[in-house]
Each structure stands twice: as structure tokens, then as C-alpha cells.
């Protein structure tokens, strides 16, 4: 897995899926269209300020609310490389792994990093390094089954592989 590096956009606790992608845009599942409205109700100009590879750092319970997969899809399509939070709501957590949006749970990083900081993230090791201070934070590692899912490129590829193995 590659190392990521990008600038941080900081959000607080309990960022809900209506803030990530409001329901008024859910009459489409077009990723580019969703990306244009990413985080709109939290920060209306968010999608225009981003550079590809940027990283979201948030507080606890990121992605709470609805099950809409459009939320991680919008974030991913907006060019966000990774989301770091103190904790994630469970459906958002599941959805991100299933669609291949890298997410890391790190209460320490969530507390210490500030907007505009530049970090390098090693997904494999679960390491987050503040490039200015050199400080390193570690994330909660994924259980082996989830690593398998991520390595396969998400749930659909995983199921596909399983199906093919069965038919061999």
C-alpha cells in the first residue's frame, strides 16, 4: 500500500451523513455530482477548496445518521485520500471499508492535529506523521478479516473472488 500525504481539513464531533451529503442530492448516485456537494451543509465552499489527496480529521462518531453509501462515495470522489477520526459511526465504518475509502481511528491524532497541518499516512502500519513537528500517531489496527477485505479492494471484489474460487 502506498503512503499518503495531504493537508488536513478539521471537523468536530458527530458529523452526520446529512452534513456529508444532504438528502436533497440523493436523487442521483453519480459520484462526480455527489462530490460537488460533499460537506456542503457543514462548509458550503468545501468542495471548491480541496486539493486531491487532502485528508479529513474529525472528532468522535464521524458519519452518524443514515446508511447512505453516498456519504463515503462523495468524500472519496471529492478527492479526499483518507478520513481520520476519534471514532466512526458503525454503518459509515462498514461502508468505507466496503467501498475502499481508507479510514483510521486515532483519538490522539484527532485531538492533536489542526486544520492546515500536513501529514503523511501509512495505511499498512496505521501510522500518521505530522510533517511539521515530526510527531507520529498510531491508529487502531484493522482485524485480519477486514485487512483481507481491504486488500481485495472492497467487498464486491472479495465476494467475486470467493465465487470464482467456489467454481474452480
Amino acid at each position: 500500500m502506498r503512503a499518503l500525504s495531504g493537508n488536513i481539513w478539521k471537523f468536530g464531533d458527530d458529523v452526520d451523513t446529512d452534513a456529508i451529503i444532504p438528502a436533497r442530492y440523493l436523487n442521483t448516485s453519480d459520484a462526480a455530482e455527489l462530490a460537488r456537494h460533499c460537506m456542503e451543509d457543514a462548509d458550503p465552499s468545501f468542495s471548491t477548496k480541496l486539493s486531491p489527496g487532502d485528508i479529513i480529521v474529525a472528532g468522535k462518531n464521524f458519519g452518524c445518521g443514515s446508511s447512505r453509501e453516498h456519504a463515503p462515495l462523495a468524500i472519496k470522489a471529492a478527492g479526499i485520500a483518507c478520513v481520520i477520526a476519534e471514532s466512526f459511526a458503525r454503518i459509515f465504518y462498514r461502508n468505507s471499508i466496503n467501498i475502499g475509502l481508507p479510514i483510521l481511528e486515532s483519538p490522539e491524532a484527532s485531538r492533536r492535529l489542526a486544520e492546515g497541518d500536513r501529514v503523511e499516512v501509512n495505511l499498512e502500519k496505521g501510522e500518521i506523521r505530522d510533517l511539521a513537528s515530526g510527531e507520529t500517531f498510531t491508529a487502531v489496527p484493522f482485524p485480519p478479516f477486514m485487512q483481507e477485505l481491504i486488500a481485495a479492494g472492497g467487498l464486491i471484489n472479495y465476494v467475486r473472488q470467493k465465487k470464482q474460487e467456489l467454481h474452480k
Binding site: 446529512d18 440523493l26 436523487n27 468522535k60 452518524c64 453516498h70 465476494v159 467475486r160
Partner: protein, 423 residues
């Protein structure tokens, strides 16, 4: 050492004797659900898996309820994609408008979700069916695609938080007040990754509709499931409904839990959640007097027949305040018909409310009652996040049907006991 209800339900579906919290398992799915927002994404993903047919056409429900009657061309295209897939695959449970209802009211009503089962839905309020003693949980569209293809899905076994309601519920207080109180106490992530289990004399005395309301909002405390052990009330509800044989599974009394709370409900006031969090809960008297523009009675939380009866009891012989728009949306066609038979619709219309065909509509800020900037609504729905019902500068308060009806009459947030005599 015993096992909790959640553990036993998941163990059964995984074909295991015992599972423990934190364990990752593969479980057999008894019913998989999608709607017009989540199913189109799932159908595209299903196409990528490379299987021809869904695992079982009788065990998939696809419900167009969010943006239907189709609110615009884009929504119509989404529904069409789902309808075409349902026809092609011969999906048994696709319901068109006129037979349709809000998914979490419709599936129990049709006897399609049953005690002892494991049910997934690409909709966060799938946890509603926990009220029947099923392990039911919301997942994403990709999960739904995998479940439609294989009939299985991975789960992490959750720990359980038990909530025991003691005492006796006062009049005009119901399931919505109990669950709002619970979320207020636990916070929006107080039950994150855990299964909530509700029990005690207050739950035993609660009707099925009040129980659905409680389980429905378990997700608002971050829970994976909101379980209620089946009893006589459950059996009675299922008597002429259940489409399959089912097993009743309850937890062991000595099963270890993450936490247990015992709360006395005897002095509980009706509860209201203020913007912008379902955990920002206060007794109605604390918020009384806040001026409203719109009141919505409906949704998968409170659009069932008992909810409409409660609202009608308050509205009978009264009029909606001239400044307020009251929208009443029966959750399913059967609820609509029943409300018609009982004369409830006439009470609503005489009170100058609007009554519409079943839809999610305003609940998610979709259509049929969107708020403008600065407007304030009180709704019997389940979420009051920023922009949930329309403009990001609007506000939503959440309450049960009796408070909603009373507030529509006074034009301000009001306790239903304080209305005085109807004319």
C-alpha cells in the same frame, strides 16, 4: 455463563453454538431490504459480482418510498432502475405506490420480518424490526449487493446494553418519549457498535406500534440493533401475518452485558428533541412556547395506526393554528385505509391538516413539505440534523404524535394535556 439475545440470534444465523462480542462472523440473511436511494447503488454493484440471479427472490424487498411519488426526473430514473431489476429478477416483494408504504412500517405489517431472524437493510432504520425479536440492522448498498448475491453477510458481534423501564407509563406518554429519553441519556454515540435491549414492565405493557417506534430510533444512539424480547403482544401481532414459521429467541438472565440501566418511567413527561441532535432531549414543558411553521405526523417512526389515533384524539374538534401547516402522512396504504375506516382522516381534514399518500417525503427533506430558511418544524420523525428537512437554516424538533398534534393546534410547542376542552 449465558448469552444475550443478540448473541443467540447471530450464533443461530452463523450456524454456531456460541458467539462472543467482538467476534467476526458470517451470518445467513433471512431478509434483505433496499429502497429507491440505496437499491440503485446496490444493483450496480450486484452487476459487478458476476452472478446471474439473486440468492432467493422471496427474501428480498425493494421498496420505492423515499422520493415517491417520483418527485423529479432523476428520482423517476432511480425508481425505474429498481423496478426493472425487480421484474428481471422476479423479486417477490417490490411494491408500487398505492400498495406501498414506508419500508419499516410495511415489512412488519406484511409479516415479512419475524422473530429469531437476521435481517439487513440498506437503510439505517432497519433496526425497527428488533421490536419483533429479530436481529435487524442497517448496512450500506455494497453490503446489500453482496447479501443479494450470496444470502450471507459479515458481522461483528456487538456487546449488549440493557435498558429496563420500571413503573407505569403516565397517560399521553408513549414509545417515542421512552426512546427520546433513552437517546438523551445515552447520547448519539452512547450505544455505538452495541445492541440495545429494552425490557421491563413498561415495555411489556407497550403495544406493538410503540415498540416499533422505540427500536426504530436505536440507531440514533449509534446502536447496531434495538431488541425487544418477543412476548404475548408480539405473538398476537404476528398471528395472522407471519409469512413463514419462526422461532422465539430470548437472552439468558445471567448473560454478561456492557451496561444495564434501570429507569423509572412513572413520572416521565412527553419528551422533545431540540435541534440539531436527537440526543438534545428535554421534557416538553422546558420547550413549551417555541413558535412553529410546520408540523409533520408520519414516517417509519410514528406513522402507524396507533400514532394516528393518538394524534386524532388530540385534534378532534380542534383546528390547526392559522400560521401552521400540518402534514399527516400515514406510513402505509393499510394504515391509510384503517384511518379512513375509523374516521381519523376526517378528523385531520376537519382540523385543516393536509393528508397524503404514504411516502418518506419531508422526513429526509426529500419533497412534500420542505422547510425554507429560518422556518421551524416539529415532526414525529427521527432526525433533526442541520438541513434534515430542507434549508440548512431551518430547524426541526422531534416529538411523539400527541405533542405534535397539540403543537399544531397552539402553533407553539405544547403539552397535549394543556389544550383545555375541545369545541
Amino acid at each position: 455463563m449465558g448469552q444475550t439475545m443478540a448473541e443467540k440470534l447471530l450464533a443461530r444465523a452463523a450456524g454456531k453454538k456460541k458467539v462472543t462480542p467482538g467476534e467476526l462472523i458470517n451470518a445467513r440473511i433471512d431478509m434483505a431490504l433496499g429502497n429507491d436511494i440505496t437499491a440503485p447503488v446496490a444493483i450496480k454493484e450486484f452487476g459487478r459480482i458476476g452472478v446471474e440471479k439473486v440468492f432467493d427472490r422471496e427474501r428480498i424487498a425493494l421498496i420505492p418510498d423515499h422520493f415517491t411519488p417520483n418527485k423529479d426526473i432523476a428520482a423517476a430514473e432511480q425508481v425505474k432502475l429498481m423496478r426493472d431489476f425487480a421484474r428481471r429478477q422476479g423479486i417477490a416483494h417490490y411494491y408500487e405506490i398505492g400498495r406501498m408504504g414506508v419500508e419499516h412500517a410495511l415489512l412488519p405489517e406484511l409479516g415479512l420480518v419475524l422473530p429469531g431472524e437476521v435481517i439487513i437493510g440498506a437503510d439505517s432504520h432497519t433496526c425497527t424490526y428488533g421490536a419483533l425479536g429479530a436481529f435487524a440492522t442497517g448496512v450500506g448498498s455494497t453490503d446489500l449487493a453482496a447479501a443479494m448475491a450470496t444470502g450471507e453477510l459479515w458481522f461483528k458481534v456487538p456487546p449488549t446494553i440493557r435498558i429496563v423501564f420500571e413503573g407505569k407509563l403516565p397517560p399521553l406518554v408513549g414509545g417515542k418519549d421512552l426512546i427520546l429519553y433513552t437517546i438523551g441519556r445515552l447520547g448519539v454515540d452512547g450505544a455505538r457498535y452495541a445492541a440495545l435491549e429494552f425490557d421491563g414492565p413498561v415495555i411489556a405493557a407497550l403495544g406493538m406500534d410503540g415498540r416499533f417506534t422505540m427500536s426504530n430510533m436505536a440507531i440514533e444512539a449509534g446502536a447496531k440493533a434495538g431488541l425487544i424480547p418477543p412476548d404475548r403482544v408480539t405473538e398476537e401481532y404476528l398471528k395472522d401475518r407471519a409469512r413463514r414459521p419462526y422461532v422465539v429467541i430470548k437472552g439468558d438472565a445471567d448473560a454478561p452485558v456492557l451496561a444495564e440501566h434501570r429507569w423509572d418511567a412513572s413520572a416521565l413527561e412527553p419528551q422533545v428533541a431540540a435541534p440539531f441532535s436527537p440526543a438534545n432531549v428535554h421534557p416538553v414543558s422546558k420547550l413549551a412556547g417555541i413558535s412553529l411553521d410546520q408540523v409533520v405526523i408520519g414516517s417509519c417512526t410514528n406513522g402507524r395506526i396507533d400514532d394516528l389515533r393518538e394524534a386524532a384524539a388530540v385534534l378532534k374538534g380542534r383546528r390547526v393554528h392559522p400560521r401552521v401547516r400540518l402534514l399527516v402522512i400515514p406510513a402505509t396504504q393499510a394504515v391509510y385505509r384503517q384511518a379512513l375506516r375509523e374516521g381519523l382522516l376526517e378528523i385531520f381534514i376537519d382540523a385543516e391538516a393536509s393528508v397524503s399518500t404514504p411516502t418518506c417525503g419531508p422526513c429526509l427533506g426529500g419533497h412534500m413539505g420542505i422547510l425554507a430558511e429560518g422556518e421551524v418544524a416539529l415532526a414525529t420523525t427521527n432526525r433533526n440534523f442541520v438541513g434534515r428537512m430542507g434549508h440548512p437554516g431551518s430547524k426541526v424538533y422531534l416529538a411523539g404524535p400527541a405533542v405534535a398534534a397539540a403543537s399544531a393546534v397552539t402553533g407553539t410547542i405544547a403539552h397535549p394535556a394543556e389544550l383545555g376542552e375541545a369545541k
